[in-house]
Subunit: 236 residues, 2 copies
Amino acid sequence: MTYEFWYWNGIPGRGEFVRLALEAGGIPYRECAREPGVDASDLVADMRADRDSPPFAPPYLVAGDMTISQTANILLFLGERHGLAPSDLAGRLWINQIQLTIADMVAEAHDVHHPIASGLYYEEQKAEALRRASDFRAQRMPKFLGYFERVLARRGDWIGGGGRWTYADLSLYHLVDGLLYAFPRRMTTLARDHPRVMALHARVGGLPELQAYLGSGRRLPWGDGIFRHYRELDGD
Amino acid sequence: MTYEFWYWNGIPGRGEFVRLALEAGGIPYRECAREPGVDASDLVADMRADRDSPPFAPPYLVAGDMTISQTANILLFLGERHGLAPSDLAGRLWINQIQLTIADMVAEAHDVHHPIASGLYYEEQKAEALRRASDFRAQRMPKFLGYFERVLARRGDWIGGGGRWTYADLSLYHLVDGLLYAFPRRMTTLARDHPRVMALHARVGGLPELQAYLGSGRRLPWGDGIFRHYRELDGD
């Protein structure tokens, strides 16, 4: 079965966490919103179609009769179905827990540049963004990265332990990649105290399973999505 | 087995979503941070203990050898283990999806009064909170509540369909309860267009399984947690 995957075109966004799992897992999928003649209004129409389990927002995955949404939930499904996470109960819950913690940091990284409203431009909330960015850099980045560092110190090369990556490793790679893009100065400082996190970023970036994807046009560049680079929001 | 449940004492917080599932499911648990002689520093010490799956933050549940954290992840576990969600794949994922959407709205409801930093007082970010509250009331509340209304229109009395509540129904009850406390004027207006959501709130509040708990001192009152009532942040 080829999955139908739906996410806004033009940005990596939350869809990229799903895409990395699909690509690294060698799982066939259609990127529906990037097919010829399809635009954002088609995505909205599809999302609003009458179905048993309607999504609140993209990304979502159509898998036969099922429509599955919420990034961590899609990954939970793919992890179980395609062996991208441990199959035992403790291992499954652990990988889901880390994915949800990554999702929390992703939401905060977004709110750095949009602390007031998603519907307003950055320029309309820049003063507030400066304040929030200062707290994010000083308090939140060390707290989250310190936690992931501690996890890897305990577990070894991969979050799940054992000798293989899970979907949470792919997600942590993408999170760190986004932080490096959005906060290059701050990450230069923080990298020194988080060698295991940085090594995981390099390790996933070098996975043979991902090379074709990372070198393809399907991997969209960073831009105006969740992770944005504004010089004034970065700092040592 | 009696679970050990850990969450900050003094506020309902995110812990309350887990507590409602434990109580409505008749599942034995210890509320560790409320036991005599235990204070917040004990919680922090326990949380930082060396273990295989350390929590990033409370709430967390110790179940024998496993430590499970992230609210939605704890509920996923309890749902499977104690029949608080459908057992088939599509049903399990659906309830998790709704729980994650509820969690998204909970995070936004918190950020209404703390849009800049959790570590600052409300009074230090009141100007920003006024702006964020205005967007939350106008855009986000109708968007989320409209989604839940649509879900119930499709599924019937309970989110999972069928004749029984799931943990996501309990969580939606608690979310609506928090919104009614924090935004009484706005909710008076919105209640008119969301009769199914309000009926679910009443239905869960009347569940026989919950009466002993809701009437007990264990159900903490609203206060200075995620849902806070500031008159200036509410409006029609």
